[in-house]
């Protein structure tokens, strides 16, 4: 398969395509993508202003993977993601306010300020964890799915990870276990073409990471990760088969990280012109065009949604900035669930 990296296309399929999102859902997905973009842009600025400590790993340009996948599963399905996971947590339904408060280290954050940007978690919406060790989420996704299988409930676990994770041992152990136990997991590889600072081709001998699933006799597909409808369709297909007991599937979503790896990484290692080519295929631009052409939205509607998204993020940000930091008592809390009598 010889395709230009900047013109990803979903792999052709044998049968008819699985159903895509209903028009009203697609409009909600558009709003979610705009909120995520605005959110990530604000976190970028807040970091530069010194209001966010530690590190942040942003996902501008990768919104279609998160939104397409999370909208294709049910609210009671589970999801794990990575330290670059704001977009996936928000797409799964995490409120902007609790996500922003967590990143700002406030007590009102989803983890009470104990986790931070790399560990956003909200089990009430099935966002079961953001993993800051590359590949660590995959075995845990297997366990979440194993419990669902064991309990006889038709719950599916979405497992997001990056291209870099496909070179770590936990990835292979987890794919093998998921395949041999036929676990209801949808592995979603967000191939943004860079493992931290290194282009994928310098670290990985295969251009299409999806082929790695074939070593585990696992269904796999290459997906245009900037096409939110394509992601939705393939995740809906994979989730439906997993729910039916057919086991896991692997989706390689080709996309692009528009910012650097973390903090203020200016990403000077990128070849000239690459970013511009990808910006032309920005997932939000593509979806807006499609919604306008399809008549689901007018220019005015689209602009209004964008303005509303911006306002929602600004309001969440201001509320979070006004929120208190955790009190001293929370430092020692929650190391254990049960106190032990001395």
């Amino acid at each position: 398969m010889n395709r230009s990296m900047t013109e990803p296309a979903s792999q052709p399929r044998d049968g008819p395509p699985p159903p895509g999102p209903e028009p009203d859902v697609l409009v909600r997905m558009y709003r979610a993508m705009l909120e995520i973009r605005q959110f990530e842009d604000r976190v970028f600025d807040l970091f530069a202003e010194g209001k966010v400590s530690g590190s942040t790993h942003l996902a501008q340009g990768q919104e279609a993977v998160a939104v397409g996948a999370c909208f294709a599963v049910r609210p009671d399905d589970l999801m794990v993601c990575t330290y670059r996971g704001h977009h996936e947590c928000l797409a799964k339904g995490m409120p902007l306010r609790t996500a922003m408060a967590e990143i700002l280290g406030r007590s009102t954050g989803c983890c009470g300020g104990k986790g931070g940007s790399m560990h956003l978690t909200d089990v009430s919406i099935g966002a079961m964890g953001s993993f800051a060790i590359v590949g660590a989420g995959l075995p845990v996704a297997c366990g979440l799915a194993w419990a669902a299988q064991h309990r006889g409930i038709d719950q599916v676990t979405l497992c997001f990870f990056g291209d870099g994770a496909t070179n770590i041992g936990a990835f292979h152990e987890a794919l093998n276990l998921a395949a041999v136990w036929k676990l209801p997991v949808v592995f979603v590889c967000e191939n943004n073409l860079y493992g931290e600072y290194s282009p994928i081709a310098t670290t990985t001998p295969v251009a299409d990471l999806a082929v790695r699933a074939s070593a585990y006799a696992m269904e796999h597909r290459i997906v245009d990760g900037n096409d939110v409808e394509a992601v939705y369709q393939d995740v809906a297909w994979a989730a439906a088969r997993a729910r039916d007991g057919a086991g896991p599937a692997f989706l390689e979503c080709k996309t692009y990280r528009q910012k650097g790896h973390s903090r203020g990484d200016p990403a000077r290692y990128r070849p000239p012109g690459e970013l511009e080519q990808w910006l032309a295929r920005d997932p939000i631009v593509l979806l807006r065009k499609r919604l306008l052409e399809g008549g689901q939205l007018s220019e005015d509607d689209a602009d209004k949604i964008a303005a509303e998204a911006e306002t929602a993020v600004r309001e969440a940000e201001q509320a979070a900035l006004d929120d208190p930091y955790p009190d001293d008592a929370s430092l020692a809390a929650d190391v254990y669930a049960e106190a032990i009598e001395p």
Partner: protein
Amino acid sequence: MRAGGETTFRVAIRDALADEMRDDDRVVLLGEDIAAAGGVFKATEGLFEEFGGQRVRDTPISEQAIIGAALGAALNGLRPVAELMFADFVAVAMDQLANQVAKYRYQTGGQVTVPLVVRAVCGAGFGFGAQHSQNPEAWFMHLPGWRVVAASTPHDAYWLLRAAIRSADPVLFLEHKSLFGKAGTVDDDRRPRLGQAAVRRDGEDVTVVTTMLMVDRALEAAQEMERRGHSVEVIDLRSMAPLDRRLVVRSAVKTGRLVTVEENPRECGWGAEIVSMVAEEMAGELDGVRRVTAPSTPIPFSRPLETDWLPRTENVVAALEAVLRG
């Protein structure tokens, strides 16, 4: 489980697993060769036959996947008990154990509980060499979030494993391979709690703090010291995390002298923690302190070398003599 009957350490473990599985459908076992094979040390013998392959699940040789799957299952309504075969293999899964399991509850602000148990067979004395004989309890004592159990009798193994499975927190349950054949009874009374040490022998002159295989050696040393006219108190920690600080400190205050006996290299072994803990409470009141440890080498294979590596009764006697001389 028939209370009061004679049993062994190994059977006590199997009975604890079986009884918890009978009491609670959420308890599931996973690990390498634990199902039809009954486990490398036969600690799960018969459980596959009674509970079936869905609750006694063989895994690939994939320690990261085993621990990660146990964590995920614990987060989603099960109470998994993972067997890691040899305790040395925790090193293969250390990211899951140290970075994920230990911190999951804390870093999510208490949103989740992680009710999982990792069973692992530890200890030297069987000629298994450097990678199948270690005691990793100190590694885990340095990881807030874990509880660590290191029992020395069938009674304690039975009740502490049941308590570990019922605990809402992760527990590393260590099983010393040299203790599997140890006989004893499991009684209905004197049920130990997690975090509760036991006084195995009362004494007035010196406190010995130890665990697992070293308990019997410490008791032999105490007997020898009795013949020499000294009264030695022997404490079996049973739980390494949390430590039973109150019991240890109370004993040390009474005797004024402290000897720790552990099957580990010396540097940063848990004996150092016990000594520090007591020293902080007693300041200058402590009349003598010794740590009995293994030498700071990997565990050798050849029988005479391995025998030499393990602390022996006479090492404990020598340490006791030294603290009594002052």
